[in-house]
């Protein structure tokens, strides 16, 4: 991999002749210039938050600090339209605009453009993301499909976590927390510049504690084995000149905790991840050119308690090479061109000996046309050609051969957006998008599980699953209400998902295959989001939001065990209200966040080989509250008290064990030259 990165950097340098003298992206400088956050997660080109052709929310470092959260899902659950299912003390599934499920697959998550979404099971193991909250400049939440920019799996939305830039930001913080459930947590974030042209960012964190003590299903007994997370991230940037920048980053994490698995039974998972990334950015006479290569590896060891009582080990590696150029080709026209190759492979489990993989070659373009100073049309298209394959051995009696995996397919994605700044205070967006979600590698054949009970055979993935296609149409209206120093946003959306994949439910008894994933049909949705937030007399900040959503599933019957475990119309709450209020005076700061979810249902699964069938269970309507109170001892030291789900000692929020109240104290200190 190191050789690959060196080669890529060398090639990148060779292909950037005629360098103009200008800088690459400097978030801090652009934010200071325009007075608002800047992002490139909507189109690939840098844009002001107020002008992006997408329904986007940018969570700033200040928002993160005031959230009182101790992990990223804790920050996200305060955001309108973002659904967070807390299924254990240190595990949560996150989705955008409903369609949440165990191991939520529809939301693509990246850190500085590097995906941390785990393709082997199509989800994001948040605790294994090697980023500390203190190292985050902003979290960019893009709602709706965005495959035309990011590729497969950006169908419900994209979350791009942007960390500080050690060449332009000065951050030195340490924090220590302790609280209920035996929580002990510490993190350190530091930037330093050994020379004018080199910047280094180091972040590291440790967390340990217990899971909730709320009652478990009998089959889940033994799943609580202690939670722990360790993570480290090292990034180095070298500004070779005013117009050329190199960067390398390496991460490592090890996280283990109880969590709700795709079969809706509790498992204990131990994730070990590492990644390495290299990039070169050059500002040339033809535009901004960027080359990026990275490789992620994740190994998970899953303990399935109860009847199964087995450990499953999964190994997944994804290697990605990306090229892009951004050019202002005329006064009103900006063009972004991109090419990407990725190789994604997973060793079969629990029967080893095989590798299931796919290669993706993709080309895309984004064209931004400023029709008028107040109207911009953005069109993005992308073609992804993916080829599936399998190598290695198959176990005796397995009915499939490697040739069954020889297939390829080309999938288009698009995003079209019109942004009309109708007045000084009004912005209208008209958006349409098509995204593609690939079946995960487990479902494509990574799982090869001999069934130890009659009639025998295998629980397995299959190679003939189709991708899920998600379309979304949306209108949104932003209005600045200067009289009350507030911002209003209203969004109406309509979406359709075709060929949704259920993780189990299919069977081919004649071939001895059971518990197969399958495409089960379509689903449509329509919804409305309204949010209003503002400030009052500089001391107060407040916000409130409502999301109403209906989902209509049209799934084929056909489950051999009575339920496919996939149900969105009943498991998505129709009404979600969120509100927050915050106050700052002198050295004191206090924030409170409330969310209300109307009644919905959760899936209660059955362990492999267990008796009975999965079923839907009611999740009562409920309100949950998070709070934070902080006191700044001086300019460098703050003491905080935070509470999560403080409204009740134990609360049913999902079909997983009840969520407990958690309270913790934090000591935070800034050191070095930064304050």
């Amino acid at each position: 991999m190191t050789r690959t990165i060196r080669s890529a950097l060398f090639i990148a340098t060779l292909t950037f002749p005629g360098l103009a003298e200008a800088q690459s992206i400097d978030y801090a400088a652009l934010e200071q210039l325009f007075g608002e956050p800047v992002t490139n997660s909507a189109t690939g080109s840098p844009q002001r938050e107020s002008q992006v052709p997408a329904t986007m929310i940018i969570i700033t470092a200040e928002d993160i600090r005031r959230s009182g959260a101790r992990d990223i899902p804790g920050v996200l659950q305060h955001v309108v339209g973002v659904s967070v299912l807390q299924t254990s003390n240190d595990y949560a599934d996150v989705s955008v605009r409903g369609y949440n499920q165990a191991f939520a697959p529809r939301l693509l998550v990246l850190v500085d453009g590097r995906q941390v979404y785990a393709d082997y099971y199509g989800f994001t193991p948040w605790s294994s993301v090697a980023v500390e909250l203190g190292s985050i400049r902003q979290i960019e939440v893009v709602k709706g499909p965005n495959s035309a920019l990011f590729g497969f799996n950006a169908v419900a939305g994209v979350i791009n976590i942007i960390t500080y830039d050690p060449n332009n930001d000065d951050v030195d913080t340490v924090s220590l927390s302790a609280g209920t459930q035996g929580l002990v947590q510490g993190s350190i974030v530091s930037t330093w510049k050994p020379s004018d042209s080199i910047g280094i960012l180091l972040s590291a964190g440790h967390r340990e504690g217990d899971d909730f003590s709320s009652p478990l299903q009998p089959a889940d007994a033994g799943v609580r084995r202690g939670n722990e997370r360790n993570a480290v991230n090292l990034g180095i940037e070298w500004e070779a000149s005013d117009h050329l920048q190199y960067a390398v980053e390496a991460t490592y994490s090890d996280a283990r905790q109880a969590e709700l698995a795709p079969l809706y039974t509790m498992v204990y998972n131990d994730y070990e991840t590492n990644s390495i990334k290299g990039s070169a950015i050059a500002d040339t006479q033809i535009g901004l050119l960027q080359a990026t290569v990275y490789s992620n590896q994740i190994t998970s060891r899953s303990f399935l308690p109860g009847v199964s009582g087995i450990w499953l080990t999964a190994r997944n590696r994804v290697s990605v090479a990306q090229l892009q150029s951004i050019s202002k080709i005329a006064k009103q026209h900006t063009l972004r061109l991109s090419a990407e190759y990725r190789h994604n492979t997973m060793a079969t489990t629990p029967v080893p000996g095989g590798d299931v993989f796919y290669d993706v070659a993709a080309f895309g373009s984004t064209w931004e046309w400023q029709l008028d100073p107040s109207i911009t049309l953005t069109t993005a298209v992308r073609l992804d050609h993916w080829s599936l394959g399998r190598t290695g051995s198959v176990p005796p009696g397995y009915p499939l051969t490697n040739e069954d995996w020889d297939r390829s397919q080309t999938e288009p994605s698009f995003n079209v957006g019109v942004v009309w700044q109708a007045s000084e205070v009004d912005t209208l967006r008209f958006l349409a998008g098509r995204g593609v979600q690939l079946p995960n590698l487990v479902n494509l054949g990574g799982l090869v599980l001999p069934l130890p009970f009659p009639p025998g055979g295998f629980a397995s993935g299959v190679p003939d699953l189709d991708p899920t296609i998600v379309e979304n149409y949306e209108i949104s209206w932003d209005r600045a209400l200067s009289s009350i120093d507030a911002q209003l946003r209203v969004s109406a959306f309509n979406g359709r998902s075709r060929d949704i994949v259920a993780v189990t439910g299919g069977a081919r008894p004649s071939e001895g295959l059971f518990g197969l994933p399958m495409n089960i049909g379509n689903s449509t949705t329509a919804g409305l989001e309204i949010s209003l937030h503002g400030t009052l007399r500089d001391e107060w900040r407040w916000g409130m939001s409502y999301r109403g959503q209906e989902i209509d599933d049209d799934f084929a019957a056909g489950s051999s065990v009575g339920v496919t475990l996939t149900d969105f119309e009943n498991t998505t709450p129709r009404h979600v209200l969120k509100a927050n209020v915050g106050w700052t005076r002198d050295r004191w700061e206090a924030d409170a966040y409330v969310r209300y979810l109307s009644r919905f249902e959760g899936v209660l699964g059955v362990a492999i080989g267990g008796a009975g069938t999965a079923q839907l269970v009611p999740i009562p309507s409920h309100a949950a509250m998070d709070v934070r109170v902080a006191y700044a001892v001086n300019d460098r030291i703050a003491i905080e008290l935070s509470g999560r789900n403080i409204a009740s000692s134990m609360q049913r929020q999902t079909s997983a064990p009840d969520v407990e109240r958690a309270v913790f104290a934090t000591f935070a200190m800034t050191f070095g030259s930064a304050k």
Partner: protein, 194 residues
């Protein structure tokens, strides 16, 4: 109450697209009669901040002490007043980022003989009063900044800035090229080129 160019443009766009019988000048007249007030009267501190921040995206960006030549038309009281106001604002040197802006008043007829790092063109100058080329003894061309967007539009100045109602930066690309000034791609895709 006043209406910004974006509103005017939106109205004009509607006029063009929805009511083709209404011409641009008619929309402008309606706008003037109903909403508009005269153009801005002074350069604000926020404008200066925006201008200084924008300078960091120029090739070979200026750093440290920067002599800002505030160009005014001696026979134009409004121009003189704005120049004096701007000089007061900058005082003995205003720090913005890694720049320290030091003002020097420059008559529009004296630009060629003035040694400064940057020109700031005051508003209200007529075409006749505006220098044709902003160069001096040491450099044939120097970057020019103004809050008078019309000057940018007609090529008298390379960059125009506005801080209200929202931050906007305008660059006359032809003028930039003629003055041998270039900007980073990131900056160019985020601003309005005229």
């Amino acid at each position: 109450m006043y209406v910004t160019p974006s509103v005017f443009n939106a109205l004009a766009q509607i006029a063009r697209l929805v009511r083709p019988k209404i011409r641009l000048w008619q929309a402008a007249l309606a706008c003037l009669l109903v909403f508009c007030v005269p153009a801005r009267a002074e350069v604000t501190a926020a404008d200066v901040q925006v201008a200084a921040r924008a300078l960091s995206f120029v090739s070979n960006p200026l750093k440290g002490p920067v002599r800002v030549g505030i160009v005014y038309a001696a026979g134009n009281p409004k121009s003189v007043q704005q120049a004096q106001s701007l000089r007061s604002m900058l005082g003995n040197g205003l720090r913005v980022g890694n720049l320290e802006l030091r003002p020097v008043l420059v008559k529009s007829t004296d630009v060629a003989g003035t040694d400064v790092d940057l020109f700031f063109l005051t508003e209200f100058m007529t075409v006749e009063e505006t220098p044709r080329r902003l160069g001096n003894r040491t450099r044939q061309s120097i970057l020019c900044v103004t809050t008078d967007i019309a000057q940018v539009r007609r090529g008298a100045c390379v960059m125009g800035v506005r801080s209200r109602p929202k931050v906007e930066v305008f660059v006359n690309q032809a003028s930039a090229t003629a003055n041998d000034v270039s900007f980073s791609t990131v900056f160019r895709v985020m601003i309005t080129e005229l």
